[in-house]
């Protein structure tokens, strides 16, 4: 292999570095109008009256829509959300009306001129209060109009194995506690937006910032049907994406609103959020509270794990409501535990509704699990790294959830992390400083995650007449480097130079189906499909070569003789070796394997042209392949099923120093060791991992969407704090363990999300080691640390 494990310049680099890549915020269509949305001013209220007359009279306004003058469009996998709200609002950002106008300022002015009269209703913002008897109901009827009696969402994820109570009673040591994680924003550098445009036949095109173009197509086609446009189609085109991080996993109200406005006006309509709007009106990652207990025997072997999760979902359901599907992975399968209880309650409240984000429930659960494990180690008097090693997952095991773990490098990850941190010398060292080290591990889907019936990716490969490879994949490049992985694998698997591989813009009209770019699956499934396609395409080329190679070589030999009558003839009888299996293709040249005589190498483009223009019927070189990983759709009520083809493991370690006067936490060093199966592009792998670590640091120390009775108080980068380069200025040691996963493309596993999963608990554990206090709710701010330190000192005196 020539390109695997190298870092050729990524195909999107030049366009992005020179500002030529077209993001949705750059996109313009001829005659385009601009949409603006009028959002609710109450967290929970009945809409009594909407008066749009003033807005309609503003010059430049082309349409004003409300639920009254447009067809009802439902969205969300629970169908509990309406593009334009009717009857009542359930959160501050509920969409009540929208305007299309000739420029964004007029649209905004008109949206503000809409008058809405409300009757405020009692609201509920705390998920525990929302579950109490007599709490205000966020939804009083379900999507079918049947009365509802509780704020519990109709979604269930459970797992029970063994006998937890018996195991708890028999445990030598038990530790338990409660941990909570905040609402946070995905903070994509490219903010959300879309353009919707109908053609004269009333087929729709949507330029969407999405990670799921094909499911979005299905959703938009559903909307067209709800609008009475049956047998019409929605085409989805994905522009350059400035990050997705889960925000593109659902379709959004603003997209349906731009569709409705385009339909009303007959013009393309763009809705584009700016940064403030992105903060205020886009769904963040939900907050969760996890109660966790674990026990072990005298030798440190885990005996049970008891987990209860309460997740505040806000007012509507998005795919983010299915976080527990991924929480099940660590809950049941991180370290070996025989007896497990996992249950969760997903709750509607009048908070902003949440959606997916990188890690999808895993960081929330792992924060509790790995913090709790350190407590257990302390209870048991066993070194925390040792406790993890005692219970380490091993290759070829089947976990209580039924996950079939073939390759597993966790032991090496743990050992390497400990070594890089100088764990044995630094952990628990009574050195008089407020320094400490901590670690935490992760398990995540590494071979896609089956949450739909199909978990597949298609690929279409086509050679043009010059030997350029056109690769169409439904996977979305959102900055993570998917296109680079495809290029590298295509170059090695097919035999062309990486810069001869051209990847189509993702477009449902030209690209083959793909379930979406999430669950760290993009490179895993698309490259697997690509490998299948590569075999087919090479086969096609070699079959053509059987017929055409002799004449092309003869021609080359003739030319050579003409140039140099003394040139030696090929050293062997190449004609006798001709057979489809005897050919190879490398760097765009077709030749008989095991020869390096240049005259016997035929340019791929030449061969293709010869095949194309052949007398008596030419030929094209196009193939397709479809890969659906060998995994199962779990039974969620039982929490059973091998949801991924393989699993990614890793450990992170952190050394911190705490300023006990100011509560400032300084990270001195981080080590991240990941079992990635195989490295495809080391540069992108590093970038992806360091980016995830930075998000993990933000989650641990800085980030929180602050709300006040449902209103977001810090909708900007001044008050919502993400780590900057200054905060990330510490040594990061990255190490990739290659376990060569048999189901992975060339042995690789998915690594898109995992880097973020164990960062927060590793930091929390390091802080506990440094100053002896454990913070149970993220982010770990100076306020919380100082308060905890004070409480500890008061206890001591």
């Amino acid at each position: 292999m020539t390109y695997m494990g190298t870092s050729p310049t990524r195909p999107d680099a030049a366009a992005k570095a020179t500002g030529r890549a077209e993001y949705i915020s750059d996109a313009v269509r001829p005659g385009m109008l601009h949409g603006a949305i009028r959002f609710s001013e109450h967290a929970h209220a009945r809409i009594l009256r909407i008066d749009t007359s003033k807005a309609e009279r503003i010059p430049g306004v082309r349409a004003v829509i409300t639920a009254e003058n447009t067809p009802e469009v439902r969205l969300g996998f629970l169908r509990d959300n309406l593009a334009l709200k009717k009857g009542k609002v359930r959160q501050f950002r509920d969409e009540i009306a929208a305007v299309a106008a000739i420029d964004p300022d007029i649209a905004a002015e008109a949206a503000a001129a809409i008058e809405v009269e409300y009757e405020p209703l009692p609201a509920v913002f705390d998920p525990i209060e929302a579950l109490a008897e007599g709490a205000p109901l966020v939804h009083d009827v379900d999507p079918r109009g049947r009365p509802v009696t509780s704020n519990l969402m109709p979604v269930h994820f459970r797992h029970f194995s063994g006998d937890v109570e018996k195991a708890r009673a028999a445990s030598a040591y038990v530790a338990e506690g409660e941990w909570s994680t905040p609402l946070i924003q995905q903070t994509c550098m490219g903010t959300a937006g879309c353009i919707a445009e109908f053609d004269p036949q009333m087929n729709l095109t949507v330029w969407a910032k999405t990670q799921i173009p094909f499911l979005a197509q299905r959703d938009f086609n559903g909307a067209l049907a709800q609008m009475g446009l049956r047998n019409k189609n929605a085409r989805v085109i994905v522009p350059a994406l400035g990050g997705g991080f889960g925000t593109g996993l659902d379709t959004h109200c603003y997209e349906y609103i731009s569709i409705l406005l385009a339909w009303k006006t007959g013009k393309p309509v763009k809705v584009q959020y700016n940064r403030d709007q992105e903060f205020a009106y886009l769904s963040p990652r939900q907050s969760a509270t996890v109660r966790m207990a674990q026990g072990c025997d005298r030798d440190g072997r885990l005996t049970f794990r008891h987990v209860h999760v309460v997740q505040d979902n806000g007012a509507y359901g998005s795919w983010g409501a299915t976080y527990p599907s991924v929480m099940l992975l660590p809950a049941t399968s991180l370290y070996r535990v025989p007896n497990i209880y996992f249950d969760c309650e997903l709750v509607y409240t009048n908070n902003t509704y949440a959606q997916a984000m990188r890690g999808y429930g895993n960081p929330e659960l792992t924060f509790a699990l790995e913090s709790n494990l350190d407590q257990l180690a302390e209870e048991a008097g066993i070194d925390a790294a040792q406790l993890r090693l005692i219970n380490c997952n091993e290759p070829n095991e089947v976990t209580p959830m039924g996950l079939k773990v073939a390759t597993c490098g966790l032991r090496e990850c743990l050992e390497q992390t400990a070594e890089r941190l100088d764990w044995d010398n630094k952990r628990g060292a009574p050195d008089g400083t407020a320094r400490g080290v901590g670690m935490a591990s992760l398990i995540h889907v590494g071979g896609s995650g089956r949450i739909y019936r199909s978990d597949a990716s298609g690929v279409i490969l086509r050679f043009d007449d010059w030997g350029n490879l056109y690769l169409s994949s439904g996977g979305v490049e959102m900055g993570q480097g998917l296109h680079s992985s495809l290029q590298i694998v295509a170059a090695d698997a097919i035999g062309v130079a990486p810069d001869r591989v051209f990847i189509n813009q993702t477009d449902t009209s030209t690209c083959p189906w793909d379930v979406g770019t999430h669950a760290s699956r993009g490179a895993f499934t698309a490259c697997n499909a690509l490998l299948m396609g590569a075999t087919k395409l090479r086969d096609k080329v070699f079959r053509a070569a059987v017929e055409l190679y002799p004449q092309l070589v003869e021609e080359a030999l003739r030319k050579q003789r003409k140039r140099d009558p003394d040139a030696p003839a090929p050293s062997f009888d190449w004609r006798s070796r001709i057979d489809a299996d005897a050919f190879d293709l490398r760097e765009g040249q077709v030749f008989l394997s095991n020869t390096d005589d240049p005259v016997l190498r035929v340019d791929l483009g030449k061969l293709i042209r010869a095949a194309h223009f052949r007398d008596g019927g030419g030929q094209m070189f196009t193939v397709e392949a479809f890969y659906d990983p060998p995994s199962e759709l779990p039974d969620w009520e039982q929490g059973q099923g091998n949801m991924s083809a393989c699993y990614t493991f890793g450990t992170q370690g952190v050394e911190v120093e705490v300023d006990t006067d100011t509560g400032d936490v300084r990270i001195l060093k981080m080590a991240a060791v990941l079992d990635v199966g195989k490295v495809i592009n080391p540069q992108i792998l590093r970038g992806q991992t360091i980016g995830a670590l930075a998000q993990g640091v933000g989650y641990a120390l800085y980030e929180e969407v602050k709300t006040e009775r449902g209103r977001i108080l810090n909708p900007n980068f001044t008050d919502y704090k993400i780590p900057t380069a200054v905060e990330m200025d510490f040594p990061i040691e990255l190490e990739f363990v290659e376990t060569d996963e048999p189901t992975g493309p060339y042995g690789a596993k998915g690594i898109g999300e995992p880097g973020l999963v164990p960062t927060a608990p590793a930091i929390a554990n390091a802080i506990a080691d440094a100053v002896g206090v454990r913070i149970h709710d993220l982010p770990i701010t100076p306020e919380k640390l100082l308060a905890a330190l004070r409480a500890k000192n008061e206890e001591a005196t």
Partner: protein, 352 residues
């Protein structure tokens, strides 16, 4: 519709109606956030007079007793013996003036400030972010409005916006004041105001009036404003007293993120050692009250004492005297003491 005017003289600026815009980093944010009425803007970036930075002449002294002979023609033309101008001595000057429109980055780079007022240059050159420092100005920094998120949210009409309650008192006040000086618990956002308070600087208002920093900031009791500047008045400069070469300084901020943020608590110290004892000393604290505060009791407890760790600690422990924190910000009491102690230690240790 809002008009932006670009005056080029101080007089024109003062005569133009509307809100002043210096670097615009605060005023434009507030307009976008919908918490400031959209009135006309008076942009000050083209007024050269507001960008000056210079030494002031020493106050006139009586020279009648030893009149100096004017140089003779020969003396003036003789190359070898040309008299060197008497070396300029900033210590004997009338102080240093910094124009209102000088940016934080310029202050951080200024050789004069770095040499003679390192405690000011050091803080100005390190605050906020490089982008903000490049445009954010001295006067804009002093006059920026508070960060209280209820104030910054268009839908909360609190005391500071002419309303009748303070949301932070009953709800989230984690970043708010621990000294209860008035109806609003929002802390003053300006770091430079705190530093200049420690420097005993004056604010020069158009028309020539000099107002001490303390008088300029006021007592923090009026929730509608964070200073005593009259509506429409234009700050033209800040005047620093003559430098004190023996001075050491220390600054410490507690911050939730390492950079690019307003502090949770900050403290600034200037002091002079006389032998092993502390002589002149000024200690100011920020982000703990609606105005930056001089901690006079800390200063008094240090003056004349030996600069021992025990004495510094005893003094720092007085920093929060009189504080009445709210339940959610009691952590700031310990933090204030910690910051003052650290700033004192840094000053005694040589300054940073």
């Amino acid at each position: 519709m809002s008009v932006v005017r670009f005056p080029v003289t101080v007089e024109e600026a003062a005569a133009s109606p509307g809100e002043y815009r210096a670097g615009g980093t605060d005023v434009m944010d507030r307009r976008a956030q919908g918490i400031t009425p959209i009135e006309d803007l008076v942009d000050l970036t083209r007024v050269p007079a507001l960008r000056a930075m210079d030494w002031l002449p020493a106050p006139p002294i009586d020279t009648s007793e030893s009149p100096e002979e004017p140089p003779t023609e020969e003396e003036l033309t003789s190359e070898a013996e040309a008299p060197t101008a008497p070396a300029f001595d900033p210590v004997a000057s009338g102080g240093f003036t910094i124009g209102a429109m000088v940016t934080m980055a310029q202050m951080g780079r200024s050789e004069d400030l770095r040499t003679w007022y390192p405690g000011l240059a050091g803080v100005a050159g390190a605050g906020a972010t490089p982008q903000i420092r490049a445009v954010g100005t001295l006067a804009g920094n002093l006059l920026q409005r508070p960060r209280c998120w209820y104030f910054r949210h268009p839908e909360f009409k609190c005391f500071k916006k002419g309303g009748h309650l303070c949301y932070s008192r009953s709800d989230d006040h984690s970043l708010h004041s621990i000294f209860d000086l008035g109806p609003s618990r929002a802390v003053h956002p300006s770091t430079l105001a705190m530093v200049l308070l420690a420097y005993d600087a004056d604010v020069e208002v158009r028309g020539g009036e000099h107002r001490s920093m303390e008088a300029f900031l006021g007592d923090g009791a009026d929730p509608l404003r964070e200073n005593t500047l009259e509506d429409g008045a234009l700050v033209t400069a800040i005047v620093l007293p003559p430098p004190r070469p023996a001075e050491r300084w220390g600054y410490k901020r507690a911050i939730a993120r390492r950079r690019a943020e307003w502090p949770l608590v900050e403290a600034h110290v200037r002091l002079e050692l006389e032998g092993a004892s502390i002589g002149r000393v000024a200690v100011a604290a920020g982000a703990v009250a609606p105005v930056p505060m001089r901690l006079r009791n800390v200063e008094a407890s240090l003056r004349g004492k030996k600069a021992t760790q025990a004495n510094l600690e005893a003094a720092a422990n007085l920093a929060a005297t009189g504080a009445s924190p709210l339940p959610g910000n009691a952590y700031k009491v310990a933090m204030l003491k910690g910051c003052v102690l650290e700033a004192l230690e840094r000053a005694v240790g040589g300054g940073s």
